[in-house]
């Protein structure tokens, strides 16, 4: 068995393509991810801060205070062109033509309607398909401020004090007392995303070399000679399995280490608040626990990938079979992302989903160590069963000589 392992490992280390998937990709994925996150968040903030949108307003004089608020807002600039606008249709046409970014239409009876304590309907014309949907929110916010002020003044004139107004408008105020700390809160949100990254990488660490170790042997014509050596099929499978496991574990180690290192870098040198809040309490022990949980997963993937690969007649056929396997792995991870799916003594027995849920709990800082033990046990049992199946598969003539 050791000879098979030694040889497979030597071949693996000389395969540039596999090395890219097993080593380079896990190293690159986290810095890449954080860089993208940093870029997007800073870019989005910068754009939102800096971009100024042209607008036109019809009948603005009927709500002068509101019109002034829009005029002095840093994100808006009044259209100073030659065109004049009198209707919503004209505003729509101008937005479509790109003459203005937004049009605000106030009805001509706006002042009268408001004075009569009736509701006045204002229209904001803009292109919602563009990434500028905050335009509407900003105008709405300004209109609300103006509307609140009008309401307060009106109610005061009716003899309703500000205190009474608050009680009338909102008779019951529900106040949230959140027991979740920032880590738990953010962990819930992005904790599900981490297994989404980690687990497929562990799978990748097993599948790419597996194709070469099974179908590759058939395609090269080396399988038959290997089967004719006086080592048992169990030894042969174990040799190959241990190679895949080593490759998968290497990917896991690199991935978890890379995650740890880049999280520290992100926290120390880059002002990434999301990463900081979610991961600052993550300890080395937590990372170790994530790593330990990924080990039996690596064993499951190694057995599965080897069984599939030895069934395939060619490299191409094996690659075709590996694609559904990847899909099959993504699905249980997605289940873990679903709301209300939590780590319980039942979900602890669902392969892959259990580990994804446990990783989420670890990141949230709310993991139950008894359940982690249960997951480890359940995953080891599944991995063992799959390995036994793999040995059986290697003994079947109709699989080996398809």
């Amino acid at each position: 068995m050791f000879e098979v392992f030694k040889k497979e490992l030597r071949e693996l280390l000389r395969d540039r393509k596999t090395l890219i998937f097993v080593v380079a990709l896990p190293v690159a994925v986290f810095p890449l991810l954080f860089a993208i996150m940093a870029f997007i968040s800073s870019q989005a903030a910068l754009e939102a801060e800096q971009e100024v949108h042209t607008y036109a307003i019809i009948n603005g004089n009927y709500a002068q205070e509101f019109t002034d608020k829009v005029f002095y807002h840093k994100s808006f600039a009044l259209y100073k062109g030659d065109e004049t606008f009198n209707t919503v249709e004209e505003l729509t046409k101008a937005v479509k033509a790109g003459t203005i970014d937004m049009g605000i239409y106030l009805p001509s009876d706006a002042k009268q309607t408001l004075d009569d304590a009736k509701q006045s309907e204002w229209q904001v014309v803009y292109n919602d398909a563009k990434a500028i949907n905050f335009l509407f929110d900003r105008v709405k916010e300004l209109a609300k401020e103006y509307g609140d002020k009008l309401r307060t003044t009106k109610l005061l004139s009716f003899g309703v004090s500000e205190q009474q107004q608050a009680a009338i408008i909102e008779p019951i105020k529900v106040v949230k007392v959140d027991t979740a700390d920032k880590r738990e809160n953010l962990g819930e949100k992005i904790g599900g995303f981490i297994p989404y990254l980690l687990i497929p990488l562990v799978l990748m660490g097993a599948t790419y070399p597996a194709i070469d170790l099974g179908a590759g042997e058939k395609e090269r014509g080396t399988l038959e000679t290997l089967l004719l050596t006086p080592i048992t099929r169990t030894q042969l499978v174990l040799g190959k399995f241990v190679t895949l496991l080593a490759s998968s574990i290497a990917t896991t180690t690199i991935t978890v280490l890379s995650m740890g290192v880049w999280i520290s870098v992100a926290i120390a040198f880059v002002d990434l608040a999301v990463v900081k809040n979610a991961f600052s309490s993550l300890t080395v022990l937590d990372l170790g626990l994530i790593f330990v949980l990924l080990l039996p997963i690596a064993a499951i993937f190694s057995s599965l990938a080897l069984a599939i690969s030895i069934y395939a007649r060619t490299f191409k056929e094996a690659q075709n079979y590996m694609a559904p396997l990847s899909m099959g792995v993504i699905f249980p991870i997605m289940v873990a992302l679903m709301p209300n799916v939590e780590l319980t003594s039942k979900t602890a027995f669902i392969p892959v989903t259990n580990v994804a849920l446990a990783i989420k709990e670890i990141i949230k800082g709310t993991v139950d160590y008894t359940l982690v033990g249960l997951i480890f046990l359940a995953t080891v049992i599944v991995a063992g069963a799959l390995l036994a199946f793999c040995v059986k598969w290697f003994n079947k003539e109709d699989v080996l000589f398809r």
Binding site: R220, G221, E224, T225, L228, T229, P230
Partner: protein, 262 residues
Amino acid sequence: MIEVAGLKKKFKLTKDHKKNKTDNIDPREDKEFFHSVRDVSFQCNKGEVLGLLGPNGAGKTTTLRMISTALKPDEGSITISGHDIVKKPLVGRKSIGFLSGSTGLYGRLTVKENVEYFARLHGMSKKAVAARCDELFTLLDMHNFIDKRAENLSTGMKQKANIARAVVHHPDVVILDEPTTGLDIMTTQTVINFIRGLKEQGTPVIFSTHHLDEVALLCDRVAVINQGISCFDGTLDEFKQTGQSEELNQAFMNILTESRNV
């Protein structure tokens, strides 16, 4: 000595095969199975070279795969020097060297690493491996390319490496399945010389081929299989007599025609 008696092997028909069945039914096919080998027997003694002949699809490769223990026969026995290798395949694997025209090498390993790997799998010690490899590399004139990766070798070099791999563990019997198919003249000559060398050492060799000139050149015995059944097993002279001439083609055709009539 190797003795093969009453070998039978059937394979389950695939759904596609059943679907694409034509009216021209192969007598070896029934509803569920394809009886690839129906009754094959022959023997090969020490120092003899046995040529296994038969048309395409006759069952030669399946027979050789059973002898090499890659496939398990449904019925029949295979004994090498008195050991029943059907019952004890691991014993058989230690005594058999196998090479076919389509046997490959591990491309990312060097020639030396390839040969050493198989020697180690046969349980040879490091010292024994080193000595045997050196002996084979000299014998086959391979020293100038043993450190090259197999993926960078010419066809001739690859076949030499394959020969070394097949015999590195001093097998009692060597089985060759169409070893010269697709090879150029020079490489074919290397294979022929290798078979001659084995014969001189007293190692029984069974090789399947379509080249009757190779049979005339090397074989002491000939076995012919047609549609999974042995239809001839005898010496080269006896084989020639069935054709009533020195032309082996005639003998081969006569045997096949006779077997069809039966």
